[in-house]
Chain length 205, copies 2
Amino acid sequence: MAKRGYHHGNLRQALVDAALDLIEEKGPTGFTLSEAAKNAGVTPAAVYRHFEGREDLIVEAARQGHEIFAELMEYAYNGGKPSALEAFEATGRAYLAFARKHPGHYMAMFESGISANKNPELTAAAQRSSAILERAAEALSEHIPPDKRPPSSMFSAHIWAMSHGVVELFARGTPGSRSPFPPEDLLEAGIGIYLRGLGLIPPDK
Amino acid sequence: MAKRGYHHGNLRQALVDAALDLIEEKGPTGFTLSEAAKNAGVTPAAVYRHFEGREDLIVEAARQGHEIFAELMEYAYNGGKPSALEAFEATGRAYLAFARKHPGHYMAMFESGISANKNPELTAAAQRSSAILERAAEALSEHIPPDKRPPSSMFSAHIWAMSHGVVELFARGTPGSRSPFPPEDLLEAGIGIYLRGLGLIPPDK
DNA sequence: TGTACATCAGTGAACGCGCGTTCACTGATGTAC
DNA sequence: TGTACATCAGTGAACGCGCGTTCACTGATGTAC
């Protein structure tokens, strides 16, 4: 329940929301401060009451994305229940679900070319979300014999990379690129094969 | 040996090269027709003697990228020699090598938001390069018992996705994102684990 | 070989546009008394 | 409750800018005779 503003009533968030819609529609670079302001029913100059400028608005959109993302991942991980393996798989699914459900956020986070270390709050939010996947990987890695255990940060990097690749190449409405499979199935199968390669799933299905 | 132009001497290619440099430097959307013209030592209007406009220039850059990419993949695949497995792994490495060596092309191809099906020549070039990875996957898939063999187009999609994800997340000079491992090692390890999951590599290293 | 002509790659000026940003302002809202 | 005042979110006009694109042109190059 944010306190109502003098005229608009929480313009700050309305601008972020408008920006997210535009980013989803036109990509992070097609996004325009002026248009976001217009869509929020406000003059471009009004934006400067709440943000330093165009980039700052994108940064805030990305930051909120990381918050939501972290929450979703945390929820999917569920403290490693019912098993490290299942929790890990759930985070993979959560990744894709997030990209699907919050395309504007996703684009602001991963496709806008923001320098993540420019804004400390953004950095913190990004680290928080990636930490969850790393924790899941670490818990999982304990089920592998230590002598043949690759570093756990490598798992999370692999899963992150495959998830991101699936999103970018097959889950996006890029015109002309037809997905051979539903992205969810594709990712789930890929992660399954990968975990089998780690010896975490019995070779026989 | 292109015939020399009247004044400039193969301005068309010079413009493509300038565009590639700019795309590499500033991203596909930071790229500007006017600046590309300037860097080629020519007036912006001259561009219209060779291209329909800004987008057409990007499309040509992407098309050339797909040609190079296809050649590289073809070379790496090497007709499936010495083995289907090794040839497949080589194409994975070639993917990353291409992204590293030709970042401008890579960005034009995969990050410019071009509608691939707008230009038939671009579509053809893109299909040619992706066909090679699919062929490699198909050859590999014959080494898996048919009853537990997933569709081969799924392999190539998985490898493609992981490769792309590694490039985007860990091989790019995105400021602030530190790569935990050399991208080459990361990808090679990931593909190795994946192929082990398919039963194509013995579980014991 | 020399001359007249045709071609057409690149010029330079101009255009309309929307952008991000600034600034002095205004007037609705909240507050003190 | 009513009045005077302070606050400050949003306005509207203006700016300089570089963009993509157009157009009539020019002058170097190639070609026919």
